[in-house]
Symmetry: C2
Subunit: 257 residues, 2 copies
C-alpha cells in the first residue's frame, strides 16, 4: 500500500492493517488532516450528492515508492488525484496489470489527466455515471467501447446494486451480478472494496485469463456486499475467507439457467 | 387473447396477429377509441413520466371469455383495470399458473383491487418502482418478500436495462440478466413483451420447475431486448425463433463464471 494519512488518523486502524499483514512501508503519516469526503445518499442509495471533498494531506503528497513495491506485478491505482496516480505509475517497473479507478470530482476538475491515465492503463473501473461524464453516452456499454479505443484492454462498469459489467475487445461482455442485500446501511467504499478485492484476486491467482477476470469481478462484488452491510470497515474487519467463498457459490447458483 | 380495441384500430395489425396464429376469438372491436398511453422517457430511458392515460373502450369493457379459453392452463393477466382482471380470472376454470401484471396508474387509483389480485395469483410481475409503491420498501428484494406473504408463489422484479430477479419462498433468488442493447430506441412495451414471452415459454414447455421458470424469464428478457430496438412492433414483427435462441445462448455465455 502506498498512501498518505494525516496525524489525525487512528493508531488502531493502522494496527488493524498491520495485523492483516498489509505491507505499510509505503504509508506516510503527514502533518495535517486525512482526506475527507462528505456526501448525501438518496433514499434508494444508488445516487449520492457530494457535500464536500477536503484533500487535506493529499494536497502536498509526493508518493515515494518503496523498492519492494517497484516490482509489483499487479497495480491498483485507487481513486486519488490523477497527477499522483501518474507519479506512482512512473515508478513501477513493468506491472503485468495496471488497474485504474477515479471519481466524478477528478473527471470534472482534471479531465486531461484522467484521460491520459486511461490511455496508459490496462483496466479502467468506473461507474455508469462516470462513463457518461467521460463519453456523453447514455448506454454504459457504448461508452465503455469508446473508452477501449483510448487504449485499455478492459473496462469495468459498476452499477451499484445492479451489479457490474466487464467489456473488452477480445470477448463478449461479462454480466456480473451483485449479491443482493436487503438492508444496506452505507454504500460508501463499496466501489473501493470492489476494485481492491478484484485486483487482489488477480494478484493472488496470478491469472488474467478471461475466466479469472470474471471470477475476480465476482469476488469484488461479494466483498463489496459485506462493506455495505455496516458503516465503515464494520463488517470487513471480522470477515472470513469462507464467507466470501460462500457468497461466491451462492451467486453461481443465483445466476445459473 | 382476450382484449378490446376501438374502431380506430388498424386492420393490418389484426391481420398480423391472425397470420401468427393468435386465437382472436376473444378480441372485441368496440365503438370508440383504443386505449392510449402517452409518456415522456428520461434521457437514460430507465425512468418515464406519464403524460396521459386514456382508457377509451376499456372503460365499458366487459370481458367475455370464449369456451376454448376457459380451460387455459396458463393465464397472463396483462396490465389493465384490476376489476377487469378479476372478471377474467373468475371465468377461467382451473389454470395451472396465473401471472399478473399491473402499473403505477392502477396502484395509485385502485390499490385495494390490485392487492386483491395479488392475493389470488401465482406469479406477480412488477418493476422496482411499483414494488416500492406497494410496499414502501427501497430494497426490491425486501419488498418482493413482503408481497410473497400476500399469497403468490413467485415475484418477478423488473429492472429495465439492469435485468430482473425472481423471488420465491422455495428457493434462492434468480438474478436474470438483460441482454445489453447499445442504442435502444423505445422501451415502451418491453415489460409487456417480457411478461408475454415468459408465460409463453412456460405454456409452450408446460413446465413450471425452478429451472423452467428461470429460462422463461431469460426468454422474456431476450424478447424484450428486440422490442426496445425499434418503435412499436417494428422489430418483433420480423423476428425469428432462432434469433431468440441465439441471444439466449449469448446470455448464458455472458453470465458464466
Amino acid at each position: 500500500m502506498v498512501a498518505v494519512v494525516g496525524d489525525d488518523f487512528s493508531f488502531e486502524d493502522i494496527e488493524f492493517l498491520k495485523n492483516r499483514n498489509v505491507d505499510l512501508e509505503g504509508l506516510e503519516v503527514a502533518e495535517g488532516q486525512t482526506f475527507h469526503w462528505e456526501g448525501l445518499y438518496h433514499e434508494n442509495m444508488n445516487m449520492r450528492d457530494t457535500i464536500s471533498t477536503d484533500l487535506g494531506v493529499f494536497e502536498g503528497f509526493d508518493p515515494k515508492i518503496p523498492e519492494t513495491v517497484k516490482t509489483a506485478e499487479f497495480l491498483l491505482l485507487a481513486n486519488i488525484d490523477p497527477a499522483l496516480q501518474l507519479k506512482v505509475l512512473d515508478q513501477i517497473k513493468s506491472p503485468r496489470l495496471i488497474a485504474f479507478d477515479t471519481m466524478n470530482f477528478w473527471i470534472e476538475g482534471r479531465r486531461a489527466e484522467v484521460e491520459e491515465m486511461i490511455s496508459k492503463v490496462d483496466l479502467v473501473i468506473l461507474n455508469d455515471e462516470e462513463i457518461f461524464q467521460l463519453t456523453n453516452e447514455y448506454s454504459p456499454l457504448a461508452g465503455a467501447k469508446m473508452l477501449l479505443e483510448m487504449g485499455p484492454k478492459f473496462i469495468v462498469i459498476k452499477k451499484g446494486e445492479h451489479g457490474s459489467m466487464l467489456v473488452s475487445d477480445d470477448s463478449e461482455p461479462f454480466i456480473c451480478p451483485a449479491y443482493p442485500i436487503e438492508a444496506p446501511k452505507d454504500p460508501t467504499g463499496a466501489g473501493d472494496t470492489f476494485a481492491g478485492a478484484m485486483v487482489g484476486y488477480l494478484a493472488a491467482t496470478n491469472d488474467v485469463s478471461p475466466l479469472s477476470m470474471r471470477r475476480a469481478m465476482v469476488y469484488g462484488s461479494v466483498a463489496a456486499s459485506f462493506t455495505v452491510e455496516e458503516f465503515g470497515l464494520g463488517r470487513l474487519k471480522d470477515i472470513e475467507i469462507k464467507e466470501l467463498d460462500s457468497r461466491f457459490r451462492e451467486l453461481q447458483e443465483m445466476t445459473e439457467f
